[in-house]
Symmetry: C2
């Protein structure tokens, strides 16, 4: 089995609405020293062994997981 770890975040310059909301909420809760909040999403996908797992992960991103207009992503792989 191969574990794909796909980490998705907003591109530099794209507003991160959830990060902004969390930052504001933390300020309201008196965490006054918060400077910025970024939110990332991680998909840990377990797949059967395959010849080209990297390519398959990229296809998953292109076809389902990532919006290339606003998201950056990176792929890590590990045999488990």
């Amino acid at each position: 089995m191969i574990k794909l770890k796909i980490t998705i975040g907003y591109k530099e310059g794209v507003e991160d609405p959830e990060g902004l909301a969390v930052k504001n909420s933390l300020k309201l809760l008196n965490f006054g020293n918060v400077n910025s909040v970024k939110v990332l999403k991680v998909y840990e996908i377990l797949i059967e062994d395959t010849e080209d797992a990297k390519k398959e992960a990229e296809e998953m991103c292109d076809r389902l997981l990532v919006n290339p207009v606003i998201h950056d992503y990176r792929i890590e792989m590990e045999r488990v």
Copy 2:
């Protein structure tokens, strides 16, 4: 500045609805070799230097970010 990296996922045994939805969608897109999908959320929070950043991060989790009934979390810290 200190960068807190807080990673939140579902507890063992708690259903991960988004992971399940992504798994089903990947199957429909002919990624037949997908075995399981787990979704994690990562908050990267930049704060001003403080004496006890670990404790502050734990407080953020308790008071805002984490639902202890269903979530597990881990905290990493890095001076930046």
